[in-house]
């Protein structure tokens, strides 16, 4: 028994009162008398009402401007999320952002993914006195001890990777250290030297490799977040005051390096779950934004590699679990349900074959609920262009187009990316709309698939986590206007604008897709126009023609040519 343990054993001599009757008297449903009004009961409740608090948090977030759609597109996909299950032993566990493929990886804590997503650095917890940092491959192989803190007992971790994957930065109670991934070249880059008893913790390496941000935690206070150049120079405070009572913890750079997110919490133990929020500030310290409240302390969140979501720890009545925050929609979803999950780290997946010789440009975006889970999903139409170009080309057609793809970021965090070969060489982003053709709560995707020569062709797709697949026209269709096979609609005899495709909701709630083909059979724009209308309903993945109609009209038409003045061939009344 140590000397301190002997001191603490003297507490056993204190006679404890029997407080069970008082606990029963105060408990809900007690008939022994009114519950004693107690301010602190509210504090306890806050431990378990994170979900209630989220409404305000999301409301607050929505008051802020939405994050802009990145152009060019992100070059990193979101992989699995590693997190720690705090059972008898800490176990690093992997799970897909959608909740599938959950599997334990290795005993340890504080996981941090390498920039290439192939390796995890983590803290082994065999000894509380001298924890060490190790690395392991994403498949659990190649366990490699990297570093054990020598000398006086202390703490290391959490740690973060340099953007080139060659170094690690970690916090210790006596400073911020950088070392090579093989454990060599350990050097200190920052150490608190102020007048208070403080220490530098929670480092994060900027994506450009130049700067480390960290928190300064003190006894009875803290001094906010600081940044320092990797060579130890240019130390400056990012946010916070001098010896404040509110804690700023766990700063993490956004993937694009323009922002730092962090946990802001109360200094004392009083009601910390209610008080802890993830906030975000620009790299220059301006533009403070609150993102979500009701989060755990410390390294309790991670950016998604594409910068569009956060994974964070939330404590609740059943323990703690990992939740996902969609930064664009503000929606929060629960990822784990084990009640013992903390400290998420999100795996980056660099996109294959995309080097400096290939540029990804987002040409169109839309949002909807493609998988019908109630969460907003984001869709991008991306062109991959040979060479390093500016994506902002004001609508000009890229001549050196390499390929095209559709990328869906589901609200759950899952990403589906699929090559898209239906564009026939055109811009293919003129129409890119989510629409619920059958009213089942799951949106379909309408995409302009016109070639340069044939305008106004729209194809319809079913989108779900398994992929993107075209809807088909059921036999016999309505030849020659609507052909059996993939649902390619429109393409009138003069232009797409004279051959609109319309999704409409009828008065009885039923939904129809109407494809109008208009042909000018007169001598001038006023016509007359011959109009053929095909009306369809969606049944599963099949569009079934329910009626057809032929008529004649003068421009502007009044008998079924409602879209002459529209700028898009797809009139979406079903979104």
């Amino acid at each position: 028994m140590t000397d301190l343990e002997q001191h603490f054993r003297t507490l056993d001599r204190l006679d404890a009162p029997d407080l069970w009757p008082e606990a029963e008297r105060r408990s809900p449903g007690s008939r022994s008398g009114p519950r004693r009004p107690h301010r602190l009961a509210t504090a306890v409740l806050a431990i378990t009402v994170g979900a209630a608090g989220i409404g305000f948090a999301i409301w607050a977030f929505r008051e802020r401007p939405q994050l802009p759609t990145p152009r060019p597109a992100a070059t990193v996909d979101n992989g699995q999320i590693a997190y720690v299950r705090r059972a008898e032993k800490d176990t690093i566990t992997l799970v897909d952002p959608g909740g599938a493929n959950l599997s334990p990886l290795i005993e340890g804590s504080d996981p941090a993914w390498s920039p290439d997503g192939r390796t995890l650095a983590f803290v082994t917890s065999a000894s509380d006195e001298k924890p060490s940092i190790s690395t392991v491959s994403a498949d659990g192989s190649d366990l490699t001890p990297v570093f054990q803190f020598q000398g006086q007992p202390g703490s290391i971790g959490p740690q973060a990777w340099s953007p080139d994957g060659s170094q690690l930065v970690f916090g210790s109670f006596d400073g911020i250290y950088v070392m090579n991934v093989d454990g060599t070249g350990v050097r200190r880059v920052a150490r608190y030297e102020g007048e208070h008893a403080c220490y530098d913790v929670d480092p994060s390496w900027s994506p450009d490799g130049s700067t480390i941000v960290f928190a300064v935690l003190c006894e009875g206070g803290n001094e906010g977040l600081w940044t320092v150049a990797v060579d130890g120079s240019n130390l400056r405070q990012l946010i916070g005051g001098e010896y404040e009572v509110d804690e700023y913890r766990s700063p993490v750079w956004s993937p694009d390096g323009t922002k730092v997110a962090f946990v802001k919490t109360d200094w004392t133990l009083d009601d910390p779950i209610k008080q802890a929020t993830i906030q975000m500030v620009n790299a220059d310290g301006s533009g403070l934004t609150r993102l979500v409240t009701g989060v755990g302390f410390d390294r309790s969140f991670a950016w998604s590699p594409d910068g569009r979501a956060l994974a964070f720890t939330r404590y609740h009545e059943g323990g703690s679990d990992i939740f996902l925050l969609n930064l664009q929609s503000g929606e929060v979803s629960q990822l784990t349900h084990s009640g013992d999950a903390v400290d998420p780290a999100w795996q980056p997946i660099p996109m294959d074959g995309e080097t400096a010789s290939l540029t990804r440009c987002v040409q169109a975006t839309t949002s909807g609920d493609f998988d019908g889970d109630g969460a907003t999903d984001e869709a991008e139409f991306i062109e991959l262009v040979t060479g390093s170009i500016s994506c902002n080309r004001d609508g000009e057609v890229i001549e050196n187009l390499s390929s095209q793809e559709v990328l869906i970021r589901f609200g759950s965090g899952q990403i589906v990316k699929q090559a898209f070969a239906d564009c026939q060489g055109g811009l293919c982003a003129y129409v890119f709309s989510a629409t619920d053709l059958d009213g089942d709560g799951s949106d379909e995707l309408a995409v302009d698939v016109s070639s340069a020569a044939a305008t106004g062709l729209v194809e319809l797709y079913r989108v779900d986590p398994d992929g993107i697949r075209a809807l088909v026209i059921a036999d016999p269709g309505d030849p020659p206007y609507v052909q059996p096979g993939p649902a390619i609609l429109g393409g009138g005899f003069d232009s797409g604008l004279q051959s609109p495709i319309i999704c409409r909701v009828n008065e009885d709630g039923t939904r129809e897709l109407v494809s109008i083909h208009a042909e000018n059979v007169g001598d001038s724009l006023s016509g007359p126009w011959r109009v053929h209308t095909s009306t369809m309903v969606l049944q599963g993945d099949r569009l079934v023609v329910t009626s057809t109609d032929d008529s004649e009209s003068r421009f502007p038409g009044t008998s079924g040519i409602p879209s002459f003045s529209k700028t898009s061939p797809f009139e979406n009344g079903c979104s």
Binding site: W20, R39, L269, G339
Partner: protein
């Protein structure tokens, strides 16, 4: 629902009989105040009874709630540090010396030391109780024990 609460209540009473005194003493060490400790224990168990079978780990939940209630009570009283116990009042001298020494530490250090050296919790469980990470708890323990040793040596 009411049956579940009754069943859970019986389990919680057993938890109180097994662990209540230890929790109370830990809170006395943390707060330096018997009244704060008693109030926190009673309120934490009362809240646990209200939650019935929804608590996945009642013991950890009660400890967590009780420490936060005690910390909140100290803050509410406008004293971030507990009163230095009078050795001649209420406590035997060795306990009073310890509590007096703890009172000179930060709340996080105090909680970490009490939970580790008295209650015997490992760092990861301390982290859950005080809402922190194991790494931070290790820092609190490292700094706190150095300082407490120095304080206790000064008292001798």
């Amino acid at each position: 629902m009411q049956d579940a609460l009754v069943t859970a209540g019986r389990g919680l009473e057993q938890l109180y009989r097994d662990d209540g005194a230890r929790l109370w003493r830990a809170l006395v060490a943390f707060s330096g105040d018997r009244e704060v400790a008693s109030d926190a224990v009673a309120e934490a168990f009362a809240q646990a009874i209200g939650r019935g079978s929804n608590l996945r780990n009642p013991q950890r939940w009660v400890w967590r709630a009780a420490f936060r209630i005690a910390a909140g009570e100290l803050k509410d009283r406008g004293r971030f540090r507990p009163p230095v116990a009078d050795p001649s009042y209420e406590m035997e001298e060795p306990s009073a010396r310890l509590v007096a020494g703890l009172s000179r530490l930060s709340p996080n250090q105090r909680a970490a030391l009490v939970l580790h050296y008295y209650a015997g919790y490992p760092t990861k469980e301390i982290a859950e109780i005080i809402g922190s990470s194991p790494a931070t708890v290790r820092v609190h323990l490292s700094q706190g024990r150095k300082r407490l040793r120095r304080i206790l040596e000064e008292q001798e």
